[in-house]
């Protein structure tokens, strides 16, 4: 069997991730939000609820609450910093880039993902990829819901 390098715990739990986990950004609620999107992973119990406020096709502001593992919560926090103020098209592009980084271990790390680059180590821990993508899938659902006219949407990861 070819020798596989040992995935190191330090690669998974980078300092930046722990910082976002302990001090989540954009935490709270937006009373006048256009869309509320909930994501839930029944296997781990990870939960994330985000409220999204749009200005045309731009995400003007967002607020997130959730509970779950450090990866799921840190990913949501990092994402909130990156996507606030961006256009829907740009968010979708970043989302694809992020998911690509997590599923293609060894590919060059994109330069425009901000703190989310710290999550590249998750690619070595296949079972944790869903933790990292929960917030992104939930955000994509929220954008779709906006295009349907707003309101609430909930997803359960399979």
């Amino acid at each position: 069997m070819p020798a596989r390098p040992e995935p190191l715990l330090d690669e998974l739990y980078r300092e930046l991730i722990l910082d976002h986990y302990k001090n989540p950004r954009h935490r709270g609620s937006l009373p006048a939000a256009d869309v509320t999107a909930e994501g839930y992973n029944p296997v781990c119990g990870d939960e994330v609820t985000m409220q999204l406020d749009f200005d045309g096709d731009r995400l003007a502001d967002l607020a997130i609450v959730g509970r779950g593992c450090s990866i799921s919560q840190a990913s949501g926090s990092m994402m909130s910093e990156l996507v606030a103020g961006k256009s829907i098209g740009e968010i979708r592009r970043l989302s694809d880039e992020f998911k690509q980084m997590l599923t293609d271990d060894g590919a060059p790390v994109p330069k425009d993902l901000g703190d989310l680059e710290a999550l590249q180590g998750v690619a070595k821990f296949a079972v944790r990829v869903k933790c990292a993508t929960l917030a992104w899938h939930t955000l994509e659902d929220g954008i779709q819901q906006l295009e349907r006219g707003g309101g609430s949407v909930a997803r359960e990861e399979a």
Binding site: L9, L12, Y13, L18, V43, C44, G45, G68, I71
Partner: protein, 419 residues
């Protein structure tokens, strides 16, 4: 004979391996157990010397394989003290399939609208979903016995729920989450007095304590080989002969018939009526040395060893600030599945850190989502023990909790205290 865990460990090849450069500390035995050399060798021997399909061939290999397969059946039956081991033991794929067999083959014939199926709030999904499905199909109602704060079934609630409408009581003998040992003998008496039958989910109990179906007087008992040193892919259903005889088949196909025309068939005698198609011959045969191994240790000794280790683990965990242990704290009332949380650290993060230290535990909802909601948690960590575990492995678990605390910067305990 004294119980010597160091001698026992030598029989389990996998316990010699390292994980991430650390000695494996395997504490996920409620999920599946490791296999002794004798079980592994039996599988290899079967495939190298005896492999054939059973019950039909008239050649030497087929006869030898059939004899070994049926010898396993008798051994399993004797292990749980079945009165008619040759007819009352049915091999399935796992506990889940055994329960589905009863839910379908017994349930469809005997349940009607208004009838009640009683189970408990601590059931594994495998003793819950089959009954939900059969309730939908038959119009029967589901009722569950509630738990008290210490994680035991509430006796008053059992008395209230088991009544004249009850047709079947389906209860786990040992919770895979709380460890609680349930009084199945008493529940069987209650059920029989009400005219109901009793299914005992023995997935966690049969591997870990003496279980005697005639003493309990249960009508059905379901358990799995892989949780008791045996191979995966073998489940057992014990059923009283009188009940099995009047039940319709569960699955149709080869092996389970006598005479077949295009329109109809007559079914084989017990136990073959319930074993359609080619069974898992090799794994059933290799289940026998697993039972031999447990019998050589003695199930009383197995129970005693695990009871001591479980108490040691509960006491050690409770000394760690921020740890919450669920279920009874007295090991005489429970089995060796010890479920806990560490502050508000998510069990998946905890399990990941423990894995890097070579410690294998389970993290998640343990296929008991309703119970998780009762406990007010989304997930928990679980350490579970078996014949080969030692107190120094519990110490390794406790040390690994320290590693988690270093990574998460005491966040777990501090944040839990602040809530």
């Amino acid at each position: 004979m004294t119980y010597d865990v160091d001698v026992i460990r030598r029989d389990f090849p996998i316990l010699e391996r390292n994980v991430h450069g650390k000695p494996l500390v395997y504490l996920d035995n409620a999920a599946t157990t490791q296999k002794p050399r004798s079980v592994i060798d039996r599988l290899v021997h079967y495939y190298e010397h005896e492999n054939a399909n059973i019950h039909r061939g008239l050649h030497t290999l087929a006869e030898e394989a059939t004899a070994a397969y049926e010898a396993s059946r008798l051994k399993v039956g004797e292990f749980i003290n079945a009165e008619h081991p040759g007819q009352e033991i049915i091999f399935t794929r796992n506990t889940t399939e055994s329960i589905n067999l009863v839910a379908n083959a017994w349930g469809r014939k005997n349940l009607k609208p208004g009838d009640e199926i009683v189970f408990s709030a601590m059931e594994h999904h495998s003793n819950l979903i089959p009954w939900q499905l059969i309730a939908l199909a038959t119009g029967a109602r589901l009722r569950f016995i509630e738990l008290d704060e210490s994680g035991h079934l509430r006796r008053d609630d059992a008395l209230a729920k088991i009544g004249e409408r009850t047709k079947i009581v389906a209860i786990t003998q040992m919770s895979n989450v709380l460890g609680t040992i349930n009084p199945v003998k008493e529940l069987a008496q209650l059920a029989h007095r009400a005219g109901a039958v009793v299914l005992v989910d023995g997935a966690q109990s049969v591997p870990h304590m003496p279980v005697d179906v005639r003493d309990i007087d249960c009508d059905f008992l379901a358990f799995s080989a892989h949780k008791m040193l045996g191979p995966t892919g073998v489940g057992v259903l014990y059923g009283k002969r009188d009940l099995l005889e009047v039940m319709d088949p569960f699955l149709g196909g080869g092996e389970m018939i006598k005479r077949v025309t295009f329109e109809s068939s007559t079914y084989a005698d017990l136990p073959h009526k319930f074993e359609a198609g080619t069974p898992n011959i090799a794994d059933v045969i290799a289940f026998a040395p697993a039972i031999d191994y447990l019998q050589a240790l003695g199930m009383d000794a197995v129970r005693e060893h695990e009871r001591d280790l479980t108490q040691y683990a509960i006491d050690a965990l409770e000394r760690v600030e921020g740890v919450t242990v669920y279920g009874p704290k007295d090991a005489t009332e429970r089995g060796g599945a010890v479920t806990f949380n560490y502050g508000d650290l998510h069990p998946h993060d905890l399990s990941q850190v423990l894995d890097a230290e070579g410690v294998a535990i389970r993290a998640g909802h343990h296929c008991a989502q309703p119970l998780m909601r009762e406990l007010g948690v989304v997930a928990t960590a679980r350490a579970s023990f078996y014949v080969y575990n030692r107190t120094d492995e519990v110490d390794a678990l406790i040390d690994a909790l320290g590693a988690a605390d270093r990574i998460f910067g005491n966040a777990s305990t501090a944040r839990a205290a602040a809530r």
